[in-house]
């Protein structure tokens, strides 16, 4: 029960950070990715602020817990990340912001999240084959 409460709380805090920072706004995200346009560097600071906290925080807690151990750079990592980047660059949504934006019940958030889930299933089907 305690673990579920902390998962809920962490999700809530994470989501709040997405709204406060502007990450939940796909136009702002595209403003950052559009380096040839009227470039908005804000998202660099979102990432910087977040990583500054995880760098310090993970140092304290990391040893106590299981974290990913792989360090090899392989094809699926690079190709998958590139495919994700293309989708992100088209629409301005990555998974976290897309999910929290779903709370507005906007047509575009519903379409995007449905397609994102379908993409995940599709990868699972092809990976198994």
């Amino acid at each position: 029960m305690k673990a579920l409460a902390s998962a809920l709380g962490a999700g809530f805090l994470f989501g709040t950070g997405l709204w406060v920072s502007g990450m939940a706004n796909p136009k702002k995200v595209l403003g950052f990715l559009d380096v040839a346009g009227d470039w908005d560097a804000s998202l660099l600071l979102v990432m910087g602020g977040a990583v500054a906290v995880t760098l310090a925080g993970f140092r304290i807690f990391r040893a106590k817990f299981e974290t990913p151990v792989r360090e090899d750079v392989d094809f699926p990592l690079v190709a998958g990340s590139a495919l994700f980047g293309i989708g992100w660059g088209i629409a301005g949504y990555c998974p976290g912001p897309a999910i929290t934006a779903l709370s507005t019940l906007s047509t575009e958030s519903i379409v995007f999240v449905a397609a994102m889930l379908a993409g995940g299933f599709l990868n699972r089907l092809t990976a198994r084959a």
Binding site: A7, L8, G9, A10, G11, L13, F14, T16, G17, V20, A24, G31, D34, S42, G48, G49, A50, V51, A52, V53, T54, G57, F58, F61, F65, E66, T67, P68, E71, V73, P76, L77, V78, G80, S81, A82, L83, F84, I86, W88, G89, I90, A91, P95, G96, A98, I99, A101, L102, S103, T104, F112, A114, A115, M116, G119, L122, N123, R124, A127
Partner: protein, 147 residues
């Protein structure tokens, strides 16, 4: 660069970082949203052979509740109307497929992976940032996809 919002960006980023540290400290989990989401629907991906959908569902619920609370508080909700749904659907497919293939997204590889000083995550971040900037350039500046 008239849309630059450094204070809210840093503050929001710090909240995202805090939430990630919290999830690791309390649950021993990496706050990678794509991984949490995909794992919700795939029992086989669960650790120790048992399905662990519960905490994932609660984290996702927290993300949704944050959006509801934000709106209830009367904070500004950016709306984008008229962005082509076909492009949105294609983008969503790519994001879902790619994050699963590449084992992470902006949060798992970006916020958490960089915080762990993971080489894999650094490579992933460079790949999705680069591809993202290229895709935005092509769709916005060349093809002209906008809302």
């Amino acid at each position: 660069m008239h849309d630059f919002t450094p204070v809210s960006a840093l503050l929001g980023g710090a909240l995202i970082g805090l939430a990630s540290v919290w999830l690791l400290a309390a649950n021993g989990r990496i706050a990678g949203v794509s991984g949490i989401l995909h794992g919700l629907f795939s029992p086989l991906d669960a650790r120790q052979g048992q399905h662990d959908a519960q905490w994932r569902a609660w984290f996702i619920s927290g993300l949704l509740l944050a959006g509801l609370a934000w709106q209830a508080a009367g904070a500004p909700v950016p709306v984008r109307v008229g962005f082509p749904l076909g492009w949105l659907a294609a983008a969503g497919l790519l994001v879902g497929y790619g994050t699963r293939m590449g084992s992470g997204c902006t949060s798992g590889h970006g916020v958490c992976g960089l915080g762990r000083l993971s080489l894999r995550s650094l490579v992933a971040v460079i790949a999705f940032m680069g591809a993202g900037m290229l895709a935005t350039y092509v769709t916005r500046q060349v093809i002209g996809v906008t809302s």
